[in-house]
Symmetry: D2
Subunit: 338 residues, 4 copies
């Protein structure tokens, strides 16, 4: 058994704590040595909950610690690129939550630093590690559905985020659809060349914030596949995460996950409980699996499964989506330059 990968966590918010819990209990081969958060109390609380030896308000003490081989960047989005650069300069292996940044020049500078440093960078697109979507991808790879022709992604949240977050999120395409962009690329294994957006806003507060909350996107892939993404910020029945892939030899459909399999028949209807409400419940296993994959790749010195480029392309797609929506026309990704 190789020595465990020693890790420092930067950012002890919601997703940071998920990763801390998983590293503490469900990811063999990793050892979380320290946690940093600008809110020192948050860092301490996280350290206590998950048995992490060190807690600090200053992430530099993590970057400076030679005993720490890798960092998890779970801080606010606008700090991601800077932290990636500093971590790379400190020769740490890097796992960073999405997105790297909301603009391409910042992303490209960070990726250049990573490349020069020769460290690995994995982006937190966790849905690739969901057992359902992996099975859909597997159906393609095994030839179970032949040559893919059509793709549909349904991706609806149970409720919009706080309006203050909406204002700084980069907009729905950059904040929410970005996961679907990554999933589309993962499932099809080809790049999107052009996309077209049709969007509306149902929620007046979101309209005031200048954003949309309901959209259909059409993706045209280099390999000829046509895809759609259906987004809503508010599905009253809960988190709706489905995929359909249609090909020359068949189709594969991924349904929602439920808290139980109970079907109840009464004088009114045949019904079941609502699907798992949100990503913390729906994607539990994927958060474990992405970290496990990161840890194993670093230990084995193999390429991580979601690269820096995989972090860049969905941002390009998000920028193209914004432009398509603004101009009411299909936009080629080649139109989007830093």
């Amino acid at each position: 058994m190789p020595a465990p990968l020693t890790i420092g966590l930067i950012g002890a918010g919601r997703i940071g704590r998920v990763h801390a819990a998983n590293l503490a209990t469900r990811v063999p081969g990793a050892r979380l040595l320290a946690v940093a958060d600008v809110n020192e109390a948050a860092a301490r609380s996280c350290a206590e909950a998950y048995g992490i030896p060190g807690a600090t308000a200053d992430y530099h003490s993590i970057l400076d610690d030679p005993a720490i081989q890798a960092v998890l960047i779970c801080s606010a989005t606008d700090t991601h690129a800077q932290l990636i650069e500093e971590a790379a300069a400190a020769d740490k292996q890097i796992f960073c939550e999405k997105p790297i940044a909301l603009d391409l020049p910042t992303i490209d500078r960070a990726l250049a630093v990573v490349e020069r440093a020769g460290v690995q960078l994995q982006i937190g697109f966790n849905r690739r590690f969901d057992p359902n979507f992996r099975r859909a991808r597997q159906a393609v790879e095994r030839g179970e559905i032949g040559q893919p022709q059509l793709l549909h992604i349904i991706s609806r949240d149970p409720a919009p985020p706080p309006i203050d977050y909406v204002r700084v999120s980069g907009g729905m395409f950059m904040d929410m659809t970005i996961h679907d962009f990554d999933l589309a690329r993962f499932l099809i294994g080809s790049e999107v060349e052009e996309l077209y957006v049709r969007a509306t806003t149902q929620d007046p507060a979101i309209a005031d914030a200048g954003d949309v909350d309901t959209a259909v996107l059409v993706l045209s892939f280099a390999n000829g596949v046509i895809g759609t993404i259906d987004n809503s910020r508010r599905a009253v029945y809960g988190y709706d995460q489905r995929v359909e892939l249609f090909g020359s030899a068949g189709a594969v459909m991924i349904g929602n996950n439920y808290p139980n399999s109970a079907v109840i028949s009464t004088a009114e209807s045949v019904r079941r409980d609502l699907p798992l409400n949100f990503f913390m419940e729906r994607y539990t296993e994927s958060f474990v699996a992405e970290l496990q994959a990161f840890v194993e790749a670093v230990i084995d010195d193999r390429p991580v499964p979601v690269s820096g480029l995989d972090g860049r392309v969905p941002v390009v797609m998000g920028l193209a989506a914004r432009r398509s929506h603004a101009e009411g026309r299909p936009v080629r990704l080649s139109e989007i330059v830093g």
Copy 2:
């Protein structure tokens, strides 16, 4: 009990025989008195099979028969408009298969003749009468899903028609998608203002014929709903006819119909038999119900449920779809003029 509606059938091909069988056995209040087909043997065979008193090669004998109150026009598409005009001139109530014609001037002339004659004209968009799609529409009308926001129609055929038919069909949008255009209008109860098409061709013979066989369309409705239609000429697992409607208070999904409910578990998989293969099996009940609705509306002197205008609009949408595909941009329906 009122006197039965007396009917003459023009066209004894596949769909004509379906209607003859239904009138003979499952549509109370109707009496099929004669059938005409340019192929007189076909007319006679149909008459014999379904107990129809008269069979003729010449449809004029039906139009000239004062004992016949209504006609069913089931002949080749390019004869529909002319027959509608002649039937209206003969003061017959009219049921005509879709489409009225492939161009607007012809359609508009026929509708003008119908209007002047003061007869009724119902177009054969049978899917509106399918119990599943009616239930989806009912969910909207009852407020079960609140205000509709998103619509998806999956409509895939098991196999393309003969290539000779493809050449004269007006193209996939006019021949196949036209049913989905009608269904979309029926489900949403609002008009489409703009549409965008992305299409490919998988089958070389269809490419040679200048048509597409795989497409995604985005529909923008006047009431703000965004819809998609997904079409394929070849779904290897059979006829795929599904709908999803998403609204402010929920969603309704319509699945496929199957020949049985058997689920078989073996050492390999948990599986069921393929869905009903094509429209003759899948839409059996809708063919009965549309004729029943026509017969009752005429007898009661109420408006028929699918009007001449309902026959015209999907043709406009088909023309817009062709243009969107040709020009690679969203097309407003207002751009399409006769």
Copy 3:
């Protein structure tokens, strides 16, 4: 095309009218010439509704009519055996609703008369002709599930019959379970040797009438299969008709039939409409298919698919069930003698 089989219908009640409608419209090869009912108005109404030339209060005029080749006996249960004997004596081919009678001596006398007359007798166990249950049987015959080992039948009615009917019905085992006894024999293709009953009564009126309304039966087949039947007179969610067959190579499960495939998701649940409410809706197709099979077998002079013996055995099982319930022990069918 052979000459149609000419038929007389005895009994114009609910099931008689179902057969009349099917013969009029959906059973090629048959011609219904007359209908008899002790209530002459019922006979006339039936004749008018389905275009039957003759209507009479006296069934003898049907038995005496040499133009009539076959009779359908749909009268009250206590007249079945007598009518079978008279029809056989009149050299008619016979289709008779279940049960032949509630006691074995009466059944055996009727079957003996039929055998001497050399006519055919088919019993109306329609469920054998349901597409779902046929598919389950087919799974056995094709070897899809290997050697059968376990069988479960769920058979629950939406509501009990009128209490006056309960009193003369012969009890739930003879009136309701009898269909499940037949289905069990059909699915397994082997005879039951022993059965055990556990039953309760929920409804006080049924208790007063000396009957049960809720039961589980265990069937031991000659070929080693163990089966259960689950009966209830009152399933508030509607007619519940399911089957599961488990074998050495897999299992087949038959679910309920629904009026539509709509699945509706709201803030409360993911639900669908209730299953088809009762046998008239659930088994529509089976009523057509059983008559079609009778007509074809008689015309082709082949054995009918549900014989007089098939009508006798379930009555033996019903008598055994009564005894098992009364004595609280497993009862072998060989204990039941006329």
Copy 4:
């Protein structure tokens, strides 16, 4: 936060390691201090894998350690009762895998010792903690299905255990059905008064060992519910664990758990992958939840949720099942005395 409950594990076999892993990572409030196994290498391997401070071949060192408050007994079945007695004498709180023993005198002596010692004893009937079965029980408790009337448990293993184990297992009813006996009591909340067994043996090796491998049991509950259990040692499609509860106001059905939600349609069938293969995958969450419940009950000094009596009754039922099978008749539980 209260001090953690300190625990010693006796038995480092398959289920012991499951509990060790869960205590190490997923059960807050517990601290596993030592593991004992007669195979000392197994104890050491377990200790190393899950970070347990102590490992020993002699369980007495656990019982003698005053720092250890509770023990988990996961050793061979024939040692359970003796270990319960010794642990109670050492004043430890006790969690013991099922069954306590295969005979009532042994069980009763152990329970008496526990009672005198005033410690708690929880039996490892984990299925009560499965989210699906809890939801079924909840449907009863909330009145969603009214008054329960009928219960069905389908419980089939993917493959029989090694024949050497079959020989010492106490037979299928005591080894496998015992879980279903407990589940039945849990779901209905009433005691079984009588049961009837019908069983066969498909596998010659199991027949040689004097056991059955296929069975249907009928349970008669004190509150009038009638239940069935369907067992098979070999379901080729995997672990089949379903429940149906029918009541005066509706029914609840629990289906199997699957590794993913993918539905794949091809030219052959519409299919999904096999259900989770066996209890380690199917009941993962229930193993965590039962330990969590034990730990919390002990810390809070509340009664544990599965008592020593809950461990005794299913053994009585297993003995009654054996007798019913041997004698071919329903057996009342009151006939079974130590």
